[in-house]
């Protein structure tokens, strides 16, 4: 690998030059949301300055321009995850909406009372609650595959849950609370052997590793744009064309119809069938710019650089007495979740903030994971491609100092 252009990358993110409480910002809350490169900010400004109108409607020039840019963003997403067709890329508000779409459209039309949905013990609330809601509506049953103390899926126990009643597996590619990267190839193979479709929650995985949906052979893949250096309010549902074709629309409205009369309506083809109403036009074009940016750096390079950062952070954290790393899976992405003996994560969060360090303190929308470890919350430092070893040093010095202050 060539030398990772970290200085250039940092210079591309204007917010990294901010000072917080008179200290240089150390932004380690990337699992919650990533910062945006100038290219994305410029894209939004450019769209609103030169190319903005509603899409798929007007014959006028601006509408055509906006539509072309919007559909070009769809093609960028398709290429980024190597989907077979642009028809398989549905734009939504975020990973959460994508899961809800699959639950309400696929789930409600294809599942019935007594059918089972398998998730894992490490899911984000966004990959738990929509399935619970579906189960309540149709009488389906939610099954939870367990994990071990390291935060690794117990694969054999997962496989045992798959049976004739299982109609869907919905599992995270990478855990937001623990950093665990799941063995998704094995999971998909085991499910497909029993003709069970698999949805992967890629909200955390997508900014950290190359994702090829055809190589994975997953049936659905969901992610949010704002965690991929793109604007908030953007998200993607990938679904295999045959599955999407068979699914009823999720929401009704403009843009998703072919004809409407008061007697009945017919629906547009893919992908528009699932895109009722005016989408986040400038933001989705901005997501295209984010994909251009990250592609120019290369996902392989990003993954290698972040793996080094995580290894360094883990090694440093292990040297701090009283620090407990929560989530020690062998396969992990750039997330360091931890607790300190006798110091509550919220106090850690406030004290680090006073040093300019932004981390997350809380349950990370994964309350069952907190229950599993018997903690109310953890502190979580999560890394992006613009973070540095020096920032990890600042974090660790901060943690050492606050341990001393608390005594």
């Amino acid at each position: 690998m060539s030398i990772f252009p970290i200085e250039q990358i940092r210079a591309d993110f204007p917010i990294l030059g901010e000072t917080i409480r008179n200290k240089p910002l150390v932004y380690l809350d990337n699992a919650a949301s990533c910062q945006k490169p100038q290219a994305v900010i410029d894209s939004i400004v450019h769209t609103y300055s030169h190319e903005y109108a509603n899409i798929h409607r007007g014959v006028h020039t601006l509408s055509v321009r906006a539509t072309d840019k919007f559909e070009a963003a769809r093609e960028k997403v398709r290429a980024f995850i190597n989907a077979a067709s642009h028809k398989e890329i549905i734009f939504v508000r975020g990973a959460t909406e994508a899961v809800n779409l699959v639950a309400q459209s696929y789930g409600k039309s294809q599942l019935k009372a007594g059918d089972e949905i398998v998730i894992s013990a490490m899911e984000h609330h966004a990959n738990i609650v929509p399935w619970q809601m579906l189960c309540q509506q149709i009488g389906a049953v939610l099954k939870v595959a367990p994990m071990n103390q390291n935060g690794e899926l117990l694969f054999d126990e997962f496989a045992l849950l798959l049976n004739d009643k299982t109609k869907l597996v919905a599992i995270t590619h990478m855990s937001n609370a623990l950093g665990t990267i799941n063995p998704v190839e094995k999971i998909i193979a085991a499910a497909h052997a029993k003709h069970i479709p698999v949805l992967l929650d890629g909200a955390q995985a997508i900014p950290h590793m190359p994702v090829d949906v055809q190589a994975l052979d997953c049936d659905f893949y969901v992610f949010s744009g704002h965690k991929l250096y793109g604007p908030s309010g953007t998200g993607v549902l990938y679904g295999k064309q045959a599955l999407l074709e068979a699914m009823p629309p999720y929401q009704g409205g403009g843009d998703m119809i072919r004809t409407v009369t008061f007697a009945e309506s017919t629906y547009a083809g893919l992908p528009h069938k699932f895109e009722a109403g005016t989408p986040a036009i400038a933001e989705i074009i901005g997501l295209g710019a984010a994909i251009d940016y990250i592609t120019s750096i290369g996902m392989e390079n990003v993954a290698a650089y972040e793996a080094e950062l995580l290894a360094y952070a883990t090694e440093q954290a292990q040297q701090i007495k009283g620090l407990n790393i929560i989530g020690q899976a062998a396969e992990k992405g750039g997330i360091l979740s931890f607790t300190l003996d006798h110091i509550h994560p919220h106090d850690i969060g406030t004290m680090l903030d006073s040093l300019g360090i932004a981390i997350r303190a809380g349950h990370h929308c994964a309350m069952p994971v907190m229950d599993f470890y018997g903690v109310p919350a953890t502190a979580r430092a999560s890394f992006a491609m613009y973070n540095t070893r020096q920032e990890i040093d600042i974090l660790m010095q901060g943690v050492q100092s606050l341990i001393e202050v608390f005594g």
Binding site: R21, N22, I343, H344, P345, H346, D347, T350, M351, S354, L355, A361, G362, H363, M367, M370, P376, A377, G398, S401, L402, V405, F406, G407
Partner: protein
């Protein structure tokens, strides 16, 4: 290193966090209410013994929380003992105004040691840590059975 935080984390707060007062289950309590902050997962159970003339004879708590919430509930159980329900509610009002910054003037005579928590008003994300105990007290005095949530 944490000079900016001296207003928030005063020594009294560290002291109450390390050694919370009245941290025990009260077997003969006649009020018992759970308080919960779903944003951070903080949980506490407040026990009160209130006599026929509406005086709080005893107060104690159990639970886990951050230093701010632990110190707040610890200090509260100390200060409300011997107060009437009305006096305790009046303190809640003053405490709420102090921590949410509704008033700059702190009535030190009334609020006493609780003044160490005034610093949270500069940290909007932490105000609920300080007020959870008092919302739970309010529910206990009103004899509400349901758990209290800050959200």
């Amino acid at each position: 290193m944490f000079d900016d935080l001296r207003d928030l984390y005063q020594e009294v707060i560290f002291d109450h966090n390390r050694n919370p007062r009245n941290f025990r289950i009260m077997d003969d309590a006649n009020r018992r209410v759970d308080g919960f902050n779903p944003l951070c997962g903080d949980k506490l159970t407040l026990f009160l013994k209130i006599d026929d003339s509406h005086v709080i004879q005893d107060a104690s708590f159990q639970g886990s929380g951050c230093a701010i919430s632990t110190a707040s509930v610890s200090l509260m159980t100390e200060i409300i003992k011997g107060k009437t329900e009305d006096e305790a509610e009046a303190l809640f009002t003053q405490f709420h105004e102090m921590t949410t910054g509704k008033t700059e003037d702190i009535n030190l005579e009334a609020i006493g040691k609780l003044a160490v928590l005034a610093g949270v008003r500069e940290y909007p994300a932490r105000v609920k840590c300080a007020t959870l105990a008092w919302h739970t007290l309010d529910a206990a005095i009103k004899n509400q059975q349901e758990a209290v949530s800050t959200e």
